[in-house]
Subunit: 384 residues, 4 copies
Amino acid sequence: MARTVSDTQAPVRLGMVGGGEGAFIGAVHRMAARLDGQFQLVAGALSSDPARARASGQALGLAEDRIYDDFTAMAEAEAARPDGIEAVSIVTPNHMHAAPAQAFLARGIHVICDKPMAATPGQAQAMAQAAAGSDALFILTHNYTAYPMIRAARSMIAEGKLGQLRVVQVEYAQDWLTEAADFKQAAWRTDPARAGAGAIGDIGTHAFNLLEFVTGLQIESLAAELHSFVPGRAVDDNAHVMLRLQQGARGQLWASQVAVGRENGLRLRLHGDKGGLEWDQEEPDRLWFTRFGEPRRLLTRNGAGMPEPLQPLTRIPAGHPEGYLEGFANLYTEAARAIRAHGTGGSQAQTLLPTIEDGRRGMAFIAACQTSSAQDAAWVSLDP
Amino acid sequence: MARTVSDTQAPVRLGMVGGGEGAFIGAVHRMAARLDGQFQLVAGALSSDPARARASGQALGLAEDRIYDDFTAMAEAEAARPDGIEAVSIVTPNHMHAAPAQAFLARGIHVICDKPMAATPGQAQAMAQAAAGSDALFILTHNYTAYPMIRAARSMIAEGKLGQLRVVQVEYAQDWLTEAADFKQAAWRTDPARAGAGAIGDIGTHAFNLLEFVTGLQIESLAAELHSFVPGRAVDDNAHVMLRLQQGARGQLWASQVAVGRENGLRLRLHGDKGGLEWDQEEPDRLWFTRFGEPRRLLTRNGAGMPEPLQPLTRIPAGHPEGYLEGFANLYTEAARAIRAHGTGGSQAQTLLPTIEDGRRGMAFIAACQTSSAQDAAWVSLDP
Amino acid sequence: MARTVSDTQAPVRLGMVGGGEGAFIGAVHRMAARLDGQFQLVAGALSSDPARARASGQALGLAEDRIYDDFTAMAEAEAARPDGIEAVSIVTPNHMHAAPAQAFLARGIHVICDKPMAATPGQAQAMAQAAAGSDALFILTHNYTAYPMIRAARSMIAEGKLGQLRVVQVEYAQDWLTEAADFKQAAWRTDPARAGAGAIGDIGTHAFNLLEFVTGLQIESLAAELHSFVPGRAVDDNAHVMLRLQQGARGQLWASQVAVGRENGLRLRLHGDKGGLEWDQEEPDRLWFTRFGEPRRLLTRNGAGMPEPLQPLTRIPAGHPEGYLEGFANLYTEAARAIRAHGTGGSQAQTLLPTIEDGRRGMAFIAACQTSSAQDAAWVSLDP
Amino acid sequence: MARTVSDTQAPVRLGMVGGGEGAFIGAVHRMAARLDGQFQLVAGALSSDPARARASGQALGLAEDRIYDDFTAMAEAEAARPDGIEAVSIVTPNHMHAAPAQAFLARGIHVICDKPMAATPGQAQAMAQAAAGSDALFILTHNYTAYPMIRAARSMIAEGKLGQLRVVQVEYAQDWLTEAADFKQAAWRTDPARAGAGAIGDIGTHAFNLLEFVTGLQIESLAAELHSFVPGRAVDDNAHVMLRLQQGARGQLWASQVAVGRENGLRLRLHGDKGGLEWDQEEPDRLWFTRFGEPRRLLTRNGAGMPEPLQPLTRIPAGHPEGYLEGFANLYTEAARAIRAHGTGGSQAQTLLPTIEDGRRGMAFIAACQTSSAQDAAWVSLDP
């Protein structure tokens, strides 16, 4: 049974697991939660190191009795408080997602979990079971799905503006792991035990998820070559994948963390028999749209000619750039709405929030790529 | 005397004048104040219409007794509370900046004021006197000065990377007032009584301020032609200005709200005898830098080769876009630091926060443009 | 009386004055004449230095008896030959345009003359008289007018797609004269006696001419500040000009040869009450078009949705870039057509080829800028 | 034995097979041959239709006795003339390359042949034998290799500026065959008998050739999926290929003629362990270069900081765009030099001109892609 949620517009009471001082993604989650004023961070197990957990909690202004160094203790204590957290953000390394997710779900506390869902299929399955057995929501932060122009692209495709999709090209290229690195962010992401996979997991799953989200088509099978270029690296740092999608569409996916010159280059190019779309995460407010036989159009967030339904996802007028944090905040604000609606019978299925099923599917994608690559890029099915 | 400020990292207690439901810039100030968690909005005189003031305050979760419909009452009540506001954001139309600024400054409450400072030079002068007579800070939200790449540009120029500046081109072009408009945002901005000026005030002052901020050079004189293209419009909607700056630099400034095809196109192009810089607000994370005789370089926020000192102004890695709200939030977060430092002897002069003097200078710029334009674009001095 | 011209499609017989080895613009004229096979270079007075004239002529494969070191001798000899040249290209420095133009026009030989027309108004007037007294054509190579997308822009404006023009911004920015230079191309261009003016003449006239060509509006008056930044330079290297055009349009023009980071940046931005256009010479196949209230469209040469009438100006499909030489060649190929048509009664007025009047107007523009600048940027009329 | 070639700088005497009225690529070859004045077209078998051959030859100003309707007759007659052609351009559909190539090579006339070399491996082999048995040159017009910035990229890689290459991404995307088409250009290109392959042959071979040319690395094996999206189309119109290159590099290639929104999008992205390069054919004068850990640099043709050796490949200063025809002309002008050098002992191997071996390799690439695709994208070796 889920906890009683606020029935007013008071901020949702939020806890966090992971995200202590120096962490990247934890700070992002906090800013995303804060931007629209829909959450208030009130508790945290921010580190498994007690001293660091305490220092981090104090810096964030948490009450002393709600700073925990053990997420199980936190789950128990918060579940027992009348003013306990309604939701928890899990922002630990991949291999540390499953246990806290189970602990909070079991107590009816909504889980907002970073991606990929887990480091192993076994962990993912355990999480899925926990979610199935709980009334609480499980939201996976595939944040790129919440960019306004991505939502616009999804709507346009659903409305048939591209016609039948034929060719889809998706890539996610970075260069920050071009050389061997041992700083914190790099260390766990290149450790098979903690990350489960390399580029294909850390960013490939984003590309995979975004492609399916935008096109509405599932990938049916794939042929992948994962490669590790940096000497001594134990996980892949480059992935080339060929895709066969529903309805006969074909595609290529490229994920790389050794593409010198690229910062955070997540790009989609989608071509149907009536039109085409191009989008680049580094210019997220822009979407190129071409109707076959007509000049290219540059659509912009809140720009001239854009449909109204995107308005709830944006905050400021066209030409005033919104970025990564605003996109991430869209997910949190939708989560707040879903959490409130949940108390009155709403279902996550009525939202576009990524689910446990998206998480499972991302894990299946990683596994399929690894299987294919081990078999010399043989085609591997990705069950629906 | 200024009020006692928090000596912990607790959020600064903030009030707001203006910014009721439907307002654009008020919501921006609130998001900017919220993003880094350095402020908590606890009081507001959000509208002069009591019903709207109340509804707006409730929607924002303000306590009933801190929702005011009169800023004077708010200033008095908050000054008297032990937990009263430490700072107030003034986000009313231009002609309504002076009175509340005076009211709060007189009570030692720090003022964060939207730009331009006022609708008339007289109002501006009254505000300057009030600021001079108060120990409280007066911060003008020329938000574009707080973009990380703008700060980078300023540093590079100060370090001599462009050599002696020669030619500066600045423009701020929009198209949202291409046709006569009577919706709220447009209505007061095209009313001489409430706005004081048209494009030259609303956006020209941003361009002017940003140019002086980045170059470190003052404009000594100018020749301007203000024009109103839309039938029936009582203020300028296009401004062309020639500039003579310190050290012999020359420039052009263009501000327009009728430039069809432009959304929020604030651009700087700066050319010295050793190098050049280009920046466009619609791609704020990018800065083009050319050393004479070398290829153009594309510098990016947190990107390879960027200096460390910008780090406090940014939140996320390169390639993860930050935008307008993050730039605006930089100003608020710096304001929070200044407010805390103020309690322990710090001075606004130790920061880069725009001051009452920037406000006065912006008003002088508007007046000089209007005078020049009335004299057929004669050169008019802009006293230092 | 004009010489008899080819009545077949045989190439037009062409001579050249100037353009010896090492010259920039002479080689450009030759490539432009050659690209479409409509001209054959058969004679030349390529240098006033006899040895260089001979070597240059031989390198180009001219017959020995048609290599001249004196343009007057060339005019006489060619006029007397039954296979004499039909047209001559004059590609000398500005102060050496008038004399050869007069010599060839007087003998009915068509003149294709580089811009600006002359170094002084007196020279320009003499040329105009010579043209008026001759039946031969006088074509000024304002080559940028012949880019396909510029012709498209002109047509769109003529058809009313921008509505009433309001604001026009034109600039031509280069950086190659950022430092004092004494190589050949720089030497005469910075010599008042040979060039007549600096940036305002060398590139400002291009910007001026292109603006009037595209908009169909004449500049009625202007206020200019010419400046010379490089120590020791005797001509302007930067020009800022405010413009008042017919029908109440307003504009700014910027010409600079000291804009570090800019290579050959001729740009037009045109805003009417119904739409806007943007064009950049460095991406000449692209034209941004915005209808007010609709997304921006990126029109391309031969691209989807472009009108047919541009076809004669292009050679290859969309996406296969055409550049500066193709644009210049368009002028030459139109000149060949005009020369042939002239033999059968056609008039230059039926073409879009720049005329002696364009040349005169360009000289008037230079003079007006110099006059205005000398009077502290006072407004100066530019008679129609 | 090759025919005696000009020992002066007189234009090389050129014939053409194919390229009659309405043809695209024939006209391109003629403009490319003409631009630098190094060739003179004097003979042609421009069509197999006698009337069209005659009309086309007349329109081009060929002498009546050198207009042929049969390339064999042309080869014989021209070989017998003292002023016969020195070289012939073959611009027929792919299946009609082999026979004329054999006919001219057998008579010692140099062959400049459009790509891909042939429609079948058998034809290609016959051509290779003919070339081996002839002293004449065989030059394949992989024109994109002659863009100046492509040559710059090749040099930079050879000099080690990217370090060890790791990941290469190459694509060639167009949209002109998005729908079934029966106009001339489309008809033969989608006919298996005449073209031999679809997108993979028409544009995929360009991408393949360019990748190997620039990187200096051969593709060792590939896995391909060719697809035909347009109903009724008998050849592939989209190709996805995974690549394994020498020295352990990995890559993806994409060729498509149904990518709505793309005009002629040939792009290279090359990433080594020290640096990266990006190039787009639609902006051919630009090359992005990143040294790992430094800001991106935008190199331009003849721009600041570019090396001198590229000068022979360019005609005009930076910022004056050169395009497709200039790149193609570079190949022709290099061919003229090679033809002249050949007469004095020079060898094609001393040039960068694409050879019969490039042609053979392109055919092997097509065949490997077709084989792989027929085997469900199994890896297929591409012998060196």
